[in-house]
């Protein structure tokens, strides 16, 4: 076969910034503690869709350290651009409107981390998560956490904690719930709770993990869900 002889182009050195080299793999300690906990719940080499993936921190960790096939959806343009520039497969989209296009059971895991409380229709989002993924992993700030209750009860002010850092007038969190509320909704929807873990303020599994105590002492919660009857 003929070998085409190409035009030799002048160097662009100094004219344009060089394409950034890929960064070294993040070490496990580099990601948020709650994300690391989620990562341990995901089987290596599985297919993962991260809904509301932010700058792709969890996806990047999973792709590099657990060999997953990862996809992401993110609302913010900055988050998407950062993820794609980092080599991740992420699309700009909205958990409220863009999940309907994904085929049923297309992923092993669908992750929704700290995003549910900002969706317009959390119930529909949850049903989409368990439809698209064999398992859904959902994390959210627990409004039943004792500091939240304390602030409202004794100070009479809208709570602000590490997990709920916004002032009432600027918060994107429009559908806050407690661990018990969430569990009740799952039950009402016929969604199976495979696992639930409440996290202490350090992002580690809290000591007390049962019912009302978890609801009182967990600052955040991580649930693994599936459609009923599917393990």
């Amino acid at each position: 076969m003929p070998q085409p002889r190409s035009v030799v182009l002048p160097s662009a050195a100094g004219v344009l910034p060089a394409v950034p080299a890929r960064s070294e793999a993040r070490r496990p300690t580099d990601i948020r503690v709650d994300l690391r906990l989620i990562a341990t719940m995901i089987e290596p080499s599985s297919r993962v869709l991260d809904v509301g993936c932010g700058d792709g921190q969890l996806l990047d960790y999973l792709v590099r350290n657990r060999g997953v096939v990862g996809r992401g959806i993110e609302l913010s343009q900055a988050g998407v651009n950062a993820s794609v520039a980092h080599g991740l497969s992420v699309v700009q989209g909205d958990a409220d409107t863009d999940l309907g296009n994904y085929p049923t059971q297309a992923f092993d895991y669908v992750v929704l981390s700290q995003t549910l409380q900002a969706t317009r229709n959390p119930k529909r989002v949850i049903s989409e998560l368990v439809r698209i993924g064999r398992k859904a992993i959902v994390s959210f700030p627990n409004f039943g956490y004792w500091r939240v209750r304390w602030q409202l009860l004794l100070r009479g002010r809208m709570p602000q904690t590490d997990a709920l850092g916004h002032q009432w007038h600027e918060t994107p969190n429009i559908h806050l719930c407690t661990i018990l509320d969430f569990a009740e909704l799952c039950s009402a929807m016929g969604v199976k709770i495979e696992r639930s873990i409440s996290l202490n303020p350090k992002g580690r599994a809290a000591v007390l993990q049962r019912g009302r105590m978890a609801n009182l002492f967990g600052e955040q919660a991580v649930f693994m869900l599936s459609r009923n009857g599917e393990r």
Binding site: S6, V7, N81, A106
Partner: protein, 387 residues
């Protein structure tokens, strides 16, 4: 006739590019039913094909583009239309990739088109040239790759009509494409876009010098018509914000209105310049044929109106890019493609870039575009085993 690299012996490449005759043994069956062959395809390359032939990047050019992606245009002497993205140290670096771009079927830069001589009549085809489609352009490119001995390409990339070809590549030859990067395009041409094209075509055909498409026989050319077509189209490539930023209501080299129809405003002068310079390098009949090919483009139509079916269980890795101020191929149209790709659980990235530069942004120095393409291509190259 451009030199064929079959006979070239130099090592510095050919600034004017290459040309090859294709379809002598197996002619190209066009969508319109006509069989074409043999026919000439002109193309340009940058970089070197690696030993296992895995580093080809096929660049698809837009309506008024050509194969001179990164090197000086042989007629205007201007830098290649995508020199911003293609070159040493840029996302498409010839030291890493073998970059190929062919002039489209129906074009006027060496590939067969309406200005080519019809061997049956000995005269230019003019309107006797068969109407071609985006899929026909892609088939011709596939024949060129066959000729070059390239079975699979690492990447197909293009903006606007080049993005349409990129999508068509992924749909028609998914097994030959590792990654596809359609930029600022759509899976079908909108009514509004067809309308603008019709204005352009009518401007050309209304020019008495067009002479039923046989202007070259009369040693003339419909300059005014083609210039007006380009002026109208050029507005669609910009945005209101960009026009306001660049020109506003500023007057052209004068301090008061002339109370006439001279180019009082800077924006008028700019558009006239765009029209005049376009005529120097583009053929009016090619403009008719290529705009028609875009109008006919509708990928879902061939699949019962369901775009997702065009992509099936594709393994192609997609990266789509749109621009916020692009009203010719708005983000909503790109998002439709993304939704269809999601529906088949395809590997897809989609970035919308904030800019006021309109559709033209894909040709300009947009740092976000660089970062996106650089990151996506690097990750894909790693997966493909390209150093």
């Amino acid at each position: 006739m451009l030199p064929s690299h079959r006979t070239r012996a130099d090592t510095q490449g050919a600034p004017e590019g290459f040309a090859v005759e294709l379809g002598r043994d197996a002619p190209l069956k066009l969508d319109c039913g006509v069989t074409l062959g043999p026919f000439t395809v002109a193309y340009q390359t940058y970089g070197t094909l690696n030993a296992d032939k895995s580093n080809t990047v096929l660049v698809c050019h837009a309506l008024s583009g050509d194969q001179h992606v990164a090197s000086a245009h042989p007629i205007t002497g201007k830098p290649g239309w995508w020199h911003i993205l293609v070159g040493p140290g840029r996302p498409l670096d010839p030291s890493r990739y073998f970059i190929v771009c062919a002039n489209v079927l129906g074009g006027c830069m060496g590939t067969i088109g309406p200005s080519s001589v019809n061997p049956e009549t000995g005269k230019p085809y003019g309107l006797g040239f068969p109407v071609i489609t985006i899929a026909d352009m892609v088939r011709a490119q596939a024949m060129l790759l066959d000729y070059l001995g390239i079975a699979n390409v690492f990447c197909v990339i293009g903006g606007s009509m080049g993005g349409m070809q990129t999508l068509q590549w992924a749909a028609m030859y998914p097994e030959r494409v590792f990654t596809a990067i359609p930029i600022a395009c759509a899976a079908r041409h909108s009514a509004q876009n067809i309308a603008f094209h019709e204005v352009g075509r009518q401007a050309i055909m209304a020019d008495p010098e067009w002479r039923g498409g046989e202007y070259s026989l009369h040693d003339t050319t419909p300059r005014a018509g083609l210039a007006v077509a380009r002026m109208a189209a050029h507005i669609t490539y910009l945005s209101e914000a960009a026009l306001r930023r660049k020109f506003g209501r500023k007057l052209q080299n004068r301090s008061a209105f002339t109370y006439g129809f001279d180019a009082d405003f800077e924006v008028e002068s700019y558009l006239r310049h765009q029209g005049i310079t376009f005529v120097e390098r583009f053929d009016a009949n090619s403009y008719l044929y290529i705009t028609r090919a875009m109008d006919y483009f509708d990928m879902a139509a061939e699949h019962g109106g369901v775009l997702a079916k065009a992509f099936g269980n594709t393994r192609v890795r997609f990266c789509l890019v749109s621009f916020t101020s692009d009203w010719l191929f708005p983000t909503s149209e790109m998002r439709e493609i993304v939704h269809s790709l999601n529906a088949v659980a395809a590997d897809v990235s989609f970035v919308e870039i904030e800019t006021d530069k309109g559709h033209d942004a894909f040709l300009l120095d947009e740092p976000e575009l660089h970062a996106t393409l650089g990151g996506f291509l690097n990750a894909a190259a790693e997966k493909r085993g390209l150093a």
